[in-house]
């Protein structure tokens, strides 16, 4: 009877930010991004994409608790870049990769349905 609503797992509550950014207080070019209502799906692709960036010294994500529906992505970069720049770049690259993937898949499907 007192179960929380199921949609709490994926609907960002009003007044809460989807992504918040916090700089590390001791290390320059290090920061963590707290992403509300996301999980391994986003966390892991972001992390792996950040690893492809040679200016990224460290990138990791964690799901602090299975009942806290948020992930924390931590990024540490060289002075050539910044966590924010690396983060934006990772998202842009993934977005373009998925665009390419969709086009590739659709051409392949068109080719396949022609063969029938």
């Amino acid at each position: 009877m007192n179960a929380p609503d199921r949609y709490e797992r994926f609907v960002v509550p009003e007044g809460t930010k989807k992504v918040s950014y916090e700089r590390d207080t001791k290390i320059i070019n290090a920061a963590s991004f707290t992403i509300e209502r996301e999980d391994h799906t986003i966390g892991n692709i972001l992390r792996m994409q950040l690893h492809r960036d040679e200016n990224v010294l460290f990138a990791g994500y964690k799901l602090p608790h299975p009942l806290q529906y948020k992930i924390i992505v931590r990024v540490h970069t060289t002075s050539q870049s910044s966590p924010m720049q690396a983060y934006n770049q990772a998202i842009n690259d993934l977005d373009k990769e998925l665009d390419h993937l969709r086009n590739a898949f659709e051409t392949e499907m068109a080719k396949h349905s022609r063969d029938y």
Partner: protein
């Protein structure tokens, strides 16, 4: 600000087998994180339509109301429309209790058994208010034996005099909310294996040894050619990464007889749909949903601005 370097990849796709509810394809030149994100999105985040609210008018069947409501929810409904529909929680054309074409579809079911013959109430008895959203029809998919005409999914059986009358509202939802909204029966991917047999070592084995080595694999990966007596790989993808053939080779005193690698940028996907959406559409929708999710995690303007101010302040404090 935008650095020149791009770390984008250009994945390749090859479809191997395509049916309405089944798809097998190869995905290359990307990594496991993307493959797994796609799999997870297909299972839990591609929207479909399923019955969510049930108002029972009469139920004199042997099953209780909530049992029937639960069963109704699990019936797959054709959901081509789902991507363009609204979630009832953020539909402003209605207060989310149905009656609104943007976020819901109404169903009616009336059945009464008047004979001594047991009456099967099935998904075919559900009358939809929208012809694009109906219970899936498996009749042509199963085909094959025509022993009995397809009658849809059984909901309850009625005896003489028993009656079921209800109104149901179907809504858009995702598998993360409740599994009834998941369009995927199964989605799996495997790494493509690369199998190398050390021919020189294989030469040192006797015929019986080769035969017993071939048979040590639980799945039919290798075969011995009866004419040439050579061991050949007939189906690398049957390999389940069980290491049995490697252990067998070691036990025979021939370590390195076979080397097997998982190609870390090549995946073989199998997608099975519940019928709510076509398997090919499921993949396209998953890519679209993943793109939307990525877009949602972009930094907002005010976050960037707030940090710019912080940056100046920090520079003051550090450098004076």
């Amino acid at each position: 600000m935008e650095a020149g370097a791009s770390y984008q990849r250009f994945p390749k796709v090859k479809v191997r087998e395509l049916k309405d509810d089944y798809l097998k394809f190869e995905l290359r030149d990307t990594d496991a994180s993307v493959a797994n994100a796609l799999r997870r999105v297909m299972i839990a985040e591609v929207p479909t339509i399923a019955i969510d609210l049930v108002e029972i008018e009469v139920n004199s069947s042997v099953l209780n109301d909530e049992f029937i409501a639960h069963r109704l929810g699990l019936i797959p409904l054709t959901s081509e429309r789902a991507m363009s529909m609204r979630f009832s929680r953020d539909c402003d054309a209605c207060d989310g209790d149905g009656q609104c074409e943007f976020c819901s579809v109404e169903f009616h079911l009336r059945a009464k058994c008047m004979t001594d013959q047991t009456l099967d109430v099935t998904s075919k008895d559900l009358i939809s208010s929208d012809h694009t959203v109906v219970p899936v029809d498996f009749s042509d998919a199963l085909g094959g034996d025509d022993s009995s005409e397809q009658k849809g999914i059984t909901i309850v059986k009625l005896r003489r005099g028993q009656e079921l009358r209800l109104r149901a509202i179907a809504r858009k939802g995702i598998g993360k909310d409740h599994a009834k909204w998941s369009p995927a029966a199964t989605v799996t991917f495997m790494y493509e294996p690369e199998i190398h047999i050390n021919e020189d070592l294989m030469e040192t084995l006797s015929l019986e040894q080769r035969q017993s080595w071939v048979e040590s694999s639980p799945t039919k990966v290798f075969e011995m050619d009866p004419n040439t007596e050579q061991v050949v790989v007939i189906d690398p993808e049957a390999y389940t990464y069980d290491d049995e053939v490697i252990k067998k080779a070691e036990a025979m005193g021939k370590p390195g007889l076979v080397e097997i690698y998982a190609k870390e940028d090549s995946f073989i996907f199998t997608v099975e749909s519940t019928g709510a959406i076509k398997s090919s559409q499921l993949v396209v929708n998953a890519i679209e949903v993943l793109k939307q999710k990525l877009d949602a995690v972009r930094l907002s303007e005010d976050t960037v601005e707030a940090d710019d101010q912080f940056g100046e302040l920090g520079a003051h404090m550090r450098g004076g």
